[in-house]
């Protein structure tokens, strides 16, 4: 079972790779919408990336209003 910290780190690594930002740019408390400047289609891409990586389904309404990696990790943890 992953810890919350491990899940957060894995999300940050996925986002770093997917959006091609330099390593170390993203932190657990960052607002990823602001920091990455992503639009609605990119949001859906990231959702697919997360679901495929963690092998879960994460309904959109469960992440509505979530904008930082740590809270996103908590939502994912509840589905693992």
């Amino acid at each position: 079972m992953r810890t919350l910290e491990q899940t957060t780190q894995e999300i940050i690594e996925l986002a770093t790779e997917h959006f091609r930002v330099p390593r170390g740019t993203l932190a657990p408390g960052d607002d990823f919408f602001k920091k990455l400047g992503i639009d609605s289609l990119q949001t859906l891409e990231m959702l697919s990336r997360l679901e495929n990586h963690f092998g879960i389904e994460l309904p959109d309404y469960e992440v509505q209003g979530v904008s930082d990696f740590k809270t996103l990790a908590e939502r994912i943890q509840s589905r693992l």
Binding site: E45, S48, N52, D60, Y61
Partner: protein
Amino acid sequence: MKSFTGKTLRWEWREGVIELTLDHEPANEIGTAMLAELEKFVAAFGALVPETAVCIISSARKSVFSAGGDLRELYATAAAVPEKERSAGVRAFLERIHAVLNALDTAPFVTIAAVHGACLGGGLELALACDMIIADKMARFAFPELRLGFIPGFGGIPRLKRDLGNAFIRDLLFTGRTVNAARAHAVGLVAQLAGEGEALRIARSTAAQITKYDALTRASAKKFIKPIPYDELRREIDLFCELFTRPAVMAALKKFVEDSGPMPYLP
């Protein structure tokens, strides 16, 4: 017409296969411009049918097959006319898109939607009119319409019910959530899963196999296993028009078109 390049889409016939490519900024929204070119496409079926085994529909846009009906245009058009005239305008549009999708649904060749990225609302309804969906593993499917106060209006509910039954439709409709390609494959919405960026290649390889079979047998088999739910399609148009003309829907659409946030399909 074996090839065509329009403002929102293009098609090209080659060795028994027509490839229809949606290419309309920003996200292949289906409004009057794309509808007119889709009508042109199905009008060309008469000449293409004798030489065509397969039609592949795909998108040239990054990260999206189609975001669905053009809600900005729908809102602008509806807002520009008196309330009592809105229903007639929407109905006329729906009658036209239903005619196109029914023609696609009953085409005597095999139709494949090669889907990558977002396939939402009317985009999913277009894919559902096809015989098979081949999806990139990053594809996502949804019917977000209930969140705006109406239902899918391009024939999506009757076609999904025909293909999969009711349980999955209720999940999609009542939550408005997007489901990933693996889930869509598990429930039978997606026929074949493709790796990232591979949906069109796999659709072409599938088409090459399909072209080997006898045309009459292929067309007869399709007609036999894929009846068109005409009564439900008619009722869907009526229900859509009934729901659409309420003030709450116009308010929800206004909020949607003015929202520039990262999840505008969520209220």
